[in-house]
């Protein structure tokens, strides 16, 4: 294109282009960093919640079995899992394993499946530890 005297504009020299390119790269990196940072924090919050729920659930079941006679049958454990789900918004499954009151499977995960807490509790071990 021919640039006449009365038509004004910029001539983007090679040097200027070289200066702009890293600036654009830096901007993109910066946005990616911000997004990743937010994602990390959100993962931390979710995993904290899943972990705390799992541990607290285990404490509750241990108390039910060891300190009181509160039933730890499947019907009761399913109700307990429902209550935890309603309270925390996480997915919670608790049930007896092998038709054994003293063996309880605990699973807690967030709805998107990013964080997961799973354990099979052998309740008789608490008894041995107490002795």
């Amino acid at each position: 294109m021919c640039l006449n005297r009365d038509r004004r504009g910029f001539v983007l020299s090679g040097l200027a282009l070289l200066l702009i390119l890293p600036a654009m790269l830096l901007s993109v990196s910066c946005l990616a960093m911000v997004a990743r940072g937010g994602e990390t924090v959100s993962s931390q919050i979710i995993s904290d919640k899943v972990h705390a729920t799992g541990l607290s659930l285990e404490d509750t079941i241990e108390w039910m079995w060891l300190q009181s006679g509160v039933p730890v049958d499947n019907g009761t454990l399913w109700r307990l899992a429902d209550e935890w789900e309603n309270t925390t918004g996480l997915l919670v499954e608790v049930s007896n394993v092998d038709d054994n009151y003293a063996k309880v499977h605990v699973l807690v995960m967030d709805p998107l499946g990013n964080a997961r807490f799973e354990e099979v509790m052998e309740l008789t071990e608490f008894l041995e530890n107490q002795a």
Partner: protein, 403 residues
């Protein structure tokens, strides 16, 4: 510009490029700025404040004390305890609200200060709130236990039963005892003054009217709550033709003396989990009974001798005596995990009944196996009562204090 004068010629496009770079640098610098750091980490810290505060209260037993205060109708002490502890745990710039309960709210107004309306407004207007939760299985309302005390028994045994009830009573239980069969029946059918039992305990009994057993089984046990029976209750009500406690109580039923200890054979069951292998029993003075049991797997009737114990899946303990090494009888029945009721036993009845084939109150108060029988009775009563779950939620937010 002369040849000996040196300097820069700063063109317009270079100026624009520098501007773009400066904007980009400002953007990068903002990543480390306090606003974005707070946006990313401030909420995480708030969440952790909530989780840590509730965790500390749980670990040091404050939550248990709060629940016990609520269960014993001492709400003001519970509120004070919760407020004092949260003020001590959380930093001054973090405010809180603690709620215990869901459908029934037991504690709803624990804020840093006592002006609930103002604090409630601050809570509602908080820009961001974090929450930590727990679910408690501890009872927030007292466990209502109805005990049948049969005053037709010898007076010394009645006194032992009364003493045994005193011994098993817990601070979070609301125990009522009655020796009036009409009143006992009314409690079972409709409750009295809005008080209906969560569990019924019959440590021992002579024969009761059929109408009372009807009320116990058909109205109360199947539809409402659990029953723990013991002593001669079944033996003395042989005429009632129904499989109660998984036992068909038509003859032949015999009473036997001399059994010295109950052998706990299932330590995976919550009732017997903490019991020793043998629980001493004053069997020279108090009999045990041979019953005709129903096998819940098949519905067949059987007298469960020692060979049949594996065949009887509801047994938590059996009588052991060297003389009758081949003729041991079931001593404690409670539903084992995974067993489906058959043989005419309603599901709820099978779930929520425990039979002690023992005069445990008398043995315990005679000083034989005292602690073990008390624990077994307490755990059995809690086993037959339905478990309650209540949420505990701690909300926290950043903000100023109320005036």
């Amino acid at each position: 510009m002369k040849n000996d004068q040196r300097g820069f010629i700063f063109s317009l496009d270079a100026t624009l490029a520098v501007l773009v770079i400066m904007m980009a640098m400002a953007g990068v610098a903002r990543v480390g700025g306090p606003e974005l750091v707070y946006g990313q980490h401030g909420y995480l810290r708030l969440e952790r404040y909530a989780e840590d505060a509730l965790g500390v209260m749980d670990q040091v037993g404050v939550l248990d004390s709060i629940i016990e205060s609520i269960a014993t109708d001492n709400d003001s002490a519970a509120m004070e305890m919760a407020r004092d502890n949260l003020l001590a745990i959380l930093p001054p710039e973090v405010q809180f609200k603690l709620v215990v309960g869901d459908e029934t709210v037991y504690l709803d107004n624990v804020y840093p200060g006592t002006d609930n309306l103002e604090w409630s407004n601050l809570f509602e207007s908080a820009e961001e709130r974090a929450v930590a939760s727990r679910v408690t299985t501890k009872r927030l309302a007292p466990l209502k236990v109805l005990v049948w005390v049969d005053t037709r028994l010898p007076s010394n045994q009645v006194q032992m039963i009364e003493d045994f009830i005193d011994a098993i009573d817990k601070p979070t239980w609301d125990v009522r005892r009655t020796s009036d069969e009409g009143e006992f029946r009314t409690y079972l059918l409709s409750g009295i003054g809005g008080w209906s039992p969560d569990a019924v305990f019959i440590p021992d009994s002579l024969d009761l009217q059929d109408a009372t057993i009807d009320a116990l089984i058909w109205n109360y046990n199947i539809n409402h709550g659990g029953v723990v029976g013991g002593g001669g209750f079944l033996y003395n009500n042989q005429s009632y033709n129904f499989p109660f406690f998984g036992i068909w109580i038509l003859p032949p039923i015999d009473a036997k003396y001399g059994y010295e200890s109950m052998h706990i054979v299932d330590h995976t069951h919550p009732i017997t989990a903490t019991s020793p292998e043998y629980v001493d029993y004053a069997g020279d003075d108090y009999p045990v009974y041979e019953y005709l049991f129903l096998n819940p797997l098949t519905g067949e009737k059987a007298t469960p001798l020692v060979d049949n114990l594996a065949y009887w899946p509801g047994t938590g303990g059996y009588w052991w005596w060297w003389f009758y090494i081949d003729q041991d009888w079931v001593a404690l029945t409670a539903r084992r995990s995974g067993i489906i009721a058959h043989g005419g036993i309603p599901e709820n009845t099978y779930n929520r009944t425990v039979l002690f084939n023992a005069h445990m109150a008398q043995s315990a108060m005679d000083g034989v196996g005292t602690g073990e029988w008390i624990t077994l009775a307490q755990r059995a009563i809690e086993w037959v009562s339905s478990a309650n779950f209540e949420p505990i939620k701690l909300y926290v937010w950043r903000g100023g204090e109320a005036n």
